[in-house]
């Protein structure tokens, strides 16, 4: 018995010793992000910081599917496991009003970040509520939904000839949504196991919303008025109805089983020779020009989300800003890291590593735009992006969108107008519940 007690005590002692040794090394910061390539690039950037300052940076990651859940579980428990978090743009409302994020307004003003970073990134990654002049994050990874396509399929003379004969204009990178649809239809050949287009349809988080937004915004529609929370006449306007129909139309030309697709599946559509065109976040394009991960790397091209019938051209915003967690014990150290991160030369390094910088100066430089086949499309896109609601209850709004739009898109239930009218009613009820704009 005594032996047992001693060994248990020794075990506890050892655990405590290990625990305290972690605390002893004060010069370290933990950044929480989702598990994807940009997080690895950020770790590399962090290694540079360690070389310069001796402060160890650890980027901790978790799969996208439970990133939101894990981050907020930690916030809700007021835990200090993470000093900084690279949170999704929709989290701003919940992060700021919930007291999870440190107010960075002074930091923002001191470093004139409103002009240093591209305007759209500041608006959507940093400021909450809209136009309030209060900032909660530093734009870190710019991102939006763009398109990749098979250059070899598009440039095949036989295909070009057949396309012109059928549609009366040249087969090229789509100039508008109609061309996008025509090309998708043209390449849809199930008998050859070739399909027209890969789009987002997964309804478990924001995938389908992002895909639909690409059509909605380019058709000149919007989700609602972000300052008055009025949604009637916005999300169920004629333009929005037309956009939903256009997005549903594209679903006809997708590979079989395309009902739960997100970034992994959409990149597979290109690497596995399934589709002619594929929608995806710019952040996933680096692996498409890498021959190791894409056998068609040499034949893959990229374009920005095309304009709709009235010439409006927008894209759905992805991307994240970096925030200091208010429960962190090392806020001062974290601020120092951010000061280093926003420097021009750091931003250049960040872009060179593969991160999508939001620094206006770097974005505009020819060096950046010519660095990869998609950087130019990225630069063009980042100045015309729009995002989902960023209110704290955004997840409810997202769920309502999923449960209304998905059965119409995939199951063909009801009409686009009925779907969006019902969605507008759901959103009105939710905004009413939280006392917004009434």
């Amino acid at each position: 018995m005594r032996k047992l007690v001693t060994s248990v005590l020794a075990g506890i002692g050892l655990t405590l010793a290990c625990g305290t040794s972690v605390y002893a090394q004060e010069k370290s910061l933990t950044i929480f992000w989702a598990e994807w390539d940009p997080a690895n690039y950020l770790q590399e950037l962090g290694n540079e910081y360690e070389k310069e300052t001796g402060v160890k940076i650890t980027v901790e990651t978790t799969p996208w599917s439970d990133f939101q859940t894990k981050a907020f579980t930690e916030f809700n428990a007021h835990g200090d496991a993470y000093d900084l978090v690279v949170g999704d743009s929709q989290w701003l409302g919940a992060g700021s009003t919930g007291g999870h994020y440190v107010d960075l307004t002074d930091f923002f003003k001191k470093h004139d970040l409103g002009n240093v970073m591209a305007p759209a990134t500041v608006k959507y990654y940093s400021e909450y509520p809209g136009n309030s002049g209060k900032y909660w994050a530093i734009p870190l990874e710019g991102d939006a939904v763009g398109w990749s396509y098979r250059k070899d399929w598009f440039e095949d003379p036989k295909e070009k000839e057949a396309f012109k004969a059928k549609y009366g204009y040249d087969l090229d990178v789509p100039k508008d949504f109609k061309a996008l649809r025509d090309i998708a239809e043209f390449f849809y050949r199930p008998d050859q196991k070739k399909y027209g287009i890969a789009i987002y349809t997964d309804n478990s988080y924001d995938a389908m919303a992002m895909g639909f937004e690409n059509a909605l915004f380019s058709y000149g529609g919007d989700l609602g008025d972000y300052s008055t929370y009025k949604v009637d006449g916005h999300i169920n306007s004629e333009k929005a109805v037309a956009a939903l129909d256009a997005y549903k139309e594209l679903y006809k030309f997708t590979p079989p089983g395309w009902a739960k697709s997100f970034f992994v599946e959409d990149n597979q559509a290109i690497t596995e020779n399934l589709a002619a065109m594929s929608m995806n976040f710019f952040a996933f394009f680096p692996s498409l020009i890498n021959e190791a991960s894409n056998p068609n790397a040499k034949n893959t091209g990229f374009f920005a989300n095309p304009p709709g019938p009235n010439g409006d051209q927008f894209a759905a915003l992805g991307g994240q800003g970096i925030s200091i967690v208010s429960y962190s014990q090392k806020q001062e150290e974290a601020t120092k890291f951010l000061e280093w991160f926003i420097k021009d030369e750091t931003q250049k390094k960040w872009a060179a590593l593969g991160g999508y910088t939001c620094s206006a100066a770097v974005l505009k430089s020819a060096e950046f735009q010519n660095a990869t086949p998609y950087n130019k499309a990225f630069y063009e896109t980042m100045f015309k992006v729009k995002d989902f609601w960023a209110v704290p209850e955004y997840a409810e709004l997202l769920q309502q969108l999923n449960q209304r739009v998905y059965p119409y898109m995939i199951g063909g239930e009801g009409t686009a107008k009925e779907t969006l009218d019902a969605l507008a009613a759901d959103w009105n009820a939710t905004f009413k519940k939280y006392g917004r704009g009434q």
Binding site: G257, Q399, P407
Partner: protein, 301 residues
């Protein structure tokens, strides 16, 4: 009652030598378990009952406001939630019936003298030993229309098991049947081997046909143990989450537990999700009670 179960301590044992009495040994074993149950089961259960009457959101620092029965009223008036319950009911019926049919059938086949019976039974039990999440990931690949082996072997071409709104729920149920039929088989085998052989001999002497023998001898004698299998499987099927969550995102296959997860951990509507959890709990308790009543009746016969 409990004290009569405890045998007295052997005087020559080491525990007795240290001066530990029966009571202190009993306490040593029971108190940690009771404490564990209180801390991790009973306390959260009661605490969440309190939350279910508030508009509490775990993601904000705002205090919880008492809203009375508002959450329950809203949930029971929400057509989407009712739809989730209907889907769950359909899933439970299809999946449990399928498991009963397959499991009992295989048990009947195995309940005779065949070579390698032990090995065969063990191999058949394998699906049950896998993790739900792993089974989900495997079956997602098997069902895949582009490279899945199911369509390849059945010659179904591009049939979309999981992307088809009408098929998705049955595809999940099929996976569940594959995974849990062995459980029913195991219980059935135990029941079947306990049927006295002389009853069959008597039936043979009376020239009873195979159907008569099955419905009058086999089934009534195995029924109580089959009922236990049904209770277990119904409770499990009612709270299926991982399998369905991994396999498909079709709203037509959104079980109540998936809705509950989304409400609690994606939307952070903590108060409302507590209320939904209580509604589910009450339903499971009610269904299990009906079964147990019926089981007692069957046993009495």
């Amino acid at each position: 009652m409990a004290t009569t179960m405890i045998t007295t301590l052997d005087r020559s044992s080491r525990a007795a030598a240290r001066g530990l009495s029966d009571i202190s040994i009993r306490n040593l074993f029971i108190i940690p378990t009771v404490l564990f149950l209180i801390v991790f089961n009973i306390f959260p259960l009661i605490y969440s009952l309190g939350y279910s009457f508030t508009d509490f959101r775990a993601s904000t620092n705002a205090p919880a406001n008492f809203v009375g029965l508002q959450n329950y009223r809203d949930l029971l008036n929400d057509p989407f939630v009712w739809n989730n319950f209907a889907i769950t009911a359909k899933y439970v019926i299809v999946s449990v019936a399928g498991q009963l049919f397959v499991g009992f059938g295989v048990a009947m086949l195995l309940n005779r003298d065949i070579p390698l019976k032990g090995l065969l039974t063990t191999l058949l039990l394998l699906p049950m030993m896998l993790s739900m999440a792993v089974v989900g990931l495997f079956w997602k690949l098997l069902y895949d229309p582009s490279w899945g082996v199911i369509n390849y072997f059945l010659g179904l071409g591009n049939f979309e098991w999981l992307a088809d709104p009408k098929m998705a729920l049955y595809a999940v149920a099929l996976t569940d049947i594959w995974m849990w039929s062995p459980f029913v088989m195991l219980l059935s085998l135990a029941g079947l081997s306990a049927v006295p052989k002389h009853l069959y001999e008597a039936a043979a002497i009376d020239r009873a046909g195979p159907f008569y023998t099955f419905f009058r001898i086999t089934l009534p004698l195995v029924a109580p143990i089959l009922m236990i299998a049904v209770i277990f499987r119904t409770m499990e099927a009612f709270k299926t989450f991982d399998l369905a969550y991994i396999l498909t995102s079709q709203p037509t296959a959104e079980l109540i537990s998936i809705r509950l997860y989304k409400m609690a951990f994606q939307e952070w509507q903590t108060g409302r999700s507590c209320a939904l959890a209580y509604i589910v709990l009450i339903m499971v308790l009610a269904i299990t009670n009906i079964y147990v009543k019926y089981l007692n009746k069957v046993k009495e016969r």
